[in-house]
Amino acid sequence: MGIAKMGFLRSFTKRKSMSETCNEVLFRRYCNNGDNAALSALYDEHSNQLYYYLLVLSDPQTAADITQKSWLKVIESAHLYQQKGRFQAWLFTIGHRMLIDELRRTRRWDAETNPTSLPNSNQVDEHSSQPSCNFHALLKKLPFAQREAFSLQQEDFSLQDIAEITNTPVETVKTRLRYARNNMRKLWTQQS
């Protein structure tokens, strides 16, 4: 049993690292040769994840705009990419910064991101009437910082990655995740 678990973990880790290597190879091919196919493959791999992460933190229009701007920024700043980090983490860092800039520009930053603000039970997504979107509606009820940390964790980012993406100490990330899980559990139970 123990051996089987170890084997599973090893293969999972290997698959994840292979995916990261694949991303690095694709991005290097795009940087060196301007390969459209490589960029297209990277986009297909990560665009839905980035878009949904941004959608959880904002509205559909803003999420679409920031997703597009983030990819354009990736194209412009390709020569600045350092291979020490994962491509996905770099992409999400760009997305996070652009979203914060957009929220500050439209003066939605304080209202939405105040960590002390309580979950607003009236804040319901426009798609929440659909049964399959209940989780999305629950997620939108979390405070901004908890929502962001929780969303990034569901995208398989490590605590260190989340701390770097959100420019927050690791301990703060842990706290936000703990609160987010507790709040989600309560909301999940209430809904059930």
């Binding site: 301007g34 459209n36 960029l39 297209s40 986009y43 297909d44 665009s47 839905n48 994840q49 980035l50 878009y51 949904y52 959608l55 559909p60 679409a64 997703t67 597009q68 990819w71 354009l72 194209i75 412009e76 390709a78 020569h79 798609h127 659909q130 399959s132 979107c133 989780f135 999305h136 997620l139 969303s151 569901q154 899980r181 989600m184 559990r185 999940w188």
Partner: protein, 190 residues
């Protein structure tokens, strides 16, 4: 104890919810199109492009200035051009002393070298050769040459005898703008 069992529920619910909200297709089209447009710009960063553009601009200005320096002076606002009278001396006056005579020859020779070096020429058509000669050049400028200068040039065989009204000629000027010779042009090159 139950917490580890609930976490995968969140994850599955999150992934399921994510599939309900895919990124709009227009984003990919915009990104790929933008990449194609900016592809050639990526080979040089912005600062290098700016420096390259400035260098090309300076080069073009230098080329333009150099070309303008070598062009004959053209004043399109001038409708008529009068050529000042000047003449040529055939032989210096004889001097008794041979050494002084040699000096005079040397001075004349040097002066003639300066005078006779054609600086530029202008193509024109002889419009009138009764009295003062009038030429019309390619810019429709009228060049009037006094009869004295014509006679002087004729005396030194610097005007082709076969020139008549309507002939296309080539007027040779020295660097001071003095007319040196009038020779027939083979064809109208205006």
């Amino acid at each position: 104890m139950n917490e580890p069992q609930k976490e995968p529920d969140f994850k599955r619910a999150y992934q399921s919810s994510k599939q309900d909200y895919p990124a709009p297709g227009r984003i990919k089209r915009a990104v790929i199109n933008s990449q194609r447009q900016q592809r050639w710009l990526r080979y040089l960063p912005a600062k290098e492009w700016l420096a390259l553009a400035a260098a090309v601009g300076c080069f073009l200005i230098l080329i333009t200035m150099t070309n303008q320096t070598h062009l004959p002076p053209q004043n399109n606002e001038t409708l008529a051009l009068e050529v000042e009278f000047h003449n040529y001396a055939d032989e210096p006056a004889p001097v008794a002393d041979h050494r002084q005579q040699l000096t005079v020859y040397q001075r004349e020779y040097t002066q003639n070298l300066n005078t006779l070096s054609a600086f530029y020429s202008r193509r024109a058509m002889l419009a009138q050769h009764a009295g003062s000669w009038q030429f019309i050049d390619c810019n429709q400028q009228i060049i009037t040459v006094s009869i004295d200068l014509i006679e002087d040039l004729r005396k030194h065989k610097r005007i082709d005898p076969g020139i008549f009204d309507g002939s296309f000629v080539e007027l040779a000027f020295d660097e001071n703008g003095r007319l040196m010779s009038v020779s027939p042009a083979r064809e109208n090159l205006c």
